[in-house]
């Protein structure tokens, strides 16, 4: 469904993606792992058209992402940004219900608010959070509000950029279950970035490891412990010695 082929992207002299090729099938939960600064977030932004690749092609359902009706295209997506990216000028519930309050998915205000509160509950937040402003929340709470916003309009394709960083282990578990549930129950396609190996095991069908601007290894989640790629080994075991340099 999502296909990236030979995508290159550089920022100035810094080459970030160097021929990235990746396929994600419909209804699949794919997790991207890889060292900090290897271009995982950039990869998601390329698919959404927020960053334009230098060369290479990205298609969703065979359709080039840079062409066609952008509104209809983006309406199929939900995205959790690494930094949350909540709108600090509006209260939490309006952030979550942003899509439901305007545009083609617009519905009555009360209904939108109810949906927002329901989504907040699903990410483990109580209804009294709804009327606070994002700046009044802790980092982990902001992250979860961002997650609630990403799933609010029940999109077909959801991107999660580090959904569990900054959360306590119990909350991480809740969020992992939620992502798994969204994929299995709603049939959504999910592309998740994470550094947390327990999240990987909990939510992935398929794992892709990004290294040096390319997919170094990919395969089903069951194989990450048995695969003999030294880069993957080092990453999974979290060892300081191995082919991946500790200073980047």
């Amino acid at each position: 469904m999502i296909a990236l082929s030979d995508v290159h992207k550089a920022f100035g002299p810094k080459q970030v993606l160097r021929g990235l090729t990746l396929d994600v099938a419909k209804g699949e939960s794919c997790v991207i792992i890889g060292g900090s600064g290897t271009g995982k977030s950039v990869c998601l932004k390329c698919i959404l058209g927020l960053v334009i690749p230098d060369t290479g092609q990205i298609t969703v359902d065979g359709q080039d992402v840079t062409k066609g009706d952008r509104d209809a295209f983006l309406a199929r997506f939900g995205m959790l940004f690494q930094g949350g990216a909540l709108f600090d000028s509006m209260p939490v519930w309006q952030n979550v219900a942003f899509r439901l309050l305007r545009g083609r998915q617009k519905r009555p205000k009360l209904e939108a608010r109810e949906i927002a509160i329901e989504k907040l509950r699903r990410v483990g937040l109580t209804p009294d959070v709804a009327d606070l402003y994002p700046s009044e929340l802790s980092g982990g709470m902001q992250k979860r509000v961002g997650l609630a916003r990403a799933i609010a309009a029940e999109p077909e394709i959801i991107f999660f950029d580090e959904p569990t960083t900054g959360l306590d282990p119990i909350m991480s578990g809740v969020i992992n279950d939620l992502i798994r549930e969204i994929v299995t129950e709603m049939g959504a396609t999910a592309l998740t970035i994470t550094h947390d190996m327990s999240s990987v095991r909990a939510i992935a069908d398929k794992v892709a490891m990004l290294h040096n601007g390319k997919i170094r290894w990919h395969g089903p989640v069951a194989e990450i412990d048995t695969a003999d790629d030294p880069y993957l080994r080092q990453f999974v075991t979290g060892s300081a010695v191995g082919p991946i340099a500790a200073v980047r």
Binding site: A85, R102, G103
Partner: protein
């Protein structure tokens, strides 16, 4: 040879940079204007901006006009008395405020207040990925952020200028009648009889143009803000400086256009 040519190269480079900046701003402005009439519209955003840009600028513009009107009356009185023409104070204060100082000083004060605020707000949204988030939520930032601000500033500045005109003339009146011995009724009559409709409307048109420039510069620099707090700081400064210079340049051009027949 290289050493000799380097100043020339520097001049060339900065000229090219300036020309391309003008090009980018023009394209951005044309794009923003083209979105004004195309749905979706965001009336709530527009009203919100009207409040922030128009209503909350009233005290600043009012005080500026009041003190300027007063000082202008004193200066014209002192200058006029050199050739026995003190009596023209009401007329010159009126025309000076309404045609020039009302719109220009009002525009500059709003540039300081509003262009800075817009650039800082949008710049922060940009560096915290809120602009990216807007896009992924199927909302065009140009429509959602830029258009309401440009519209609100363009429509509210003429009103601010009109209020400023009245307060400025009142400032001159206050100083003239209490400090310079003018008769109250005569002062007002002279002002009203002297002013023509075009004097006032030309000032209001200037106000609308300045309002457009202020919001445009705020939005443009905010959207093109560099990364981090430093980038936002620079965007804010650039917005105020460029809005101020554009206001003064546009004022000259409009005055040339309106009053040299």
């Amino acid at each position: 040879m290289m050493v000799l040519l380097s100043p020339v190269a520097a001049i060339g480079r900065s000229t090219l940079a300036m020309l391309s900046a003008i090009g980018r701003v023009t394209i951005y402005a044309a794009l923003a204007v083209s979105h004004i009439l195309r749905p979706p519209f965001y009336p709530r955003e527009f009203l919100h901006q009207l409040l922030h840009i128009g209503w909350l600028s009233l005290p600043v513009v009012g005080l500026t006009a009041l003190f300027t009107g007063g000082a202008l009356a004193l200066q014209i009185y002192a200058g006029g008395s050199r050739f026995d023409a003190q009596a023209v104070v009401p007329q010159i204060v009126a025309i000076g405020i309404v045609r020039e100082l009302g719109p220009v000083l009002g525009g500059l004060m709003v540039a300081g207040r509003v262009a800075a605020a817009i650039a800082a707000e949008i710049g922060t949204m940009k560096v915290t990925e809120q602009i990216d988030a807007l896009v992924t939520l199927s909302t065009n930032p140009l429509k959602y952020l830029t258009v309401p601000r440009i519209l609100a500033a363009t429509l509210s500045l003429p009103v601010l200028v009109a209020v400023g005109d009245a307060i400025g003339i009142f400032g001159g009146y206050l100083v003239s009648t209490t400090r310079l011995g003018f008769n109250e009724a005569a002062y007002l009559r002279n002002t009203v009889d002297f002013l023509e409709v075009w004097d006032v409307t030309s000032g209001l048109i200037k106000g609308a143009v300045f309002g457009f420039l202020v919001a445009l510069m705020g939005c443009y620099h905010g959207m093109n803000s560099g990364r981090g707090a430093q980038g936002v700081g620079r965007a804010t400064t650039n917005a105020v400086v460029s809005a101020s210079i554009l206001i003064l340049a546009a004022n000259y051009l409009l005055t040339e256009l309106f009053f040299t027949a």
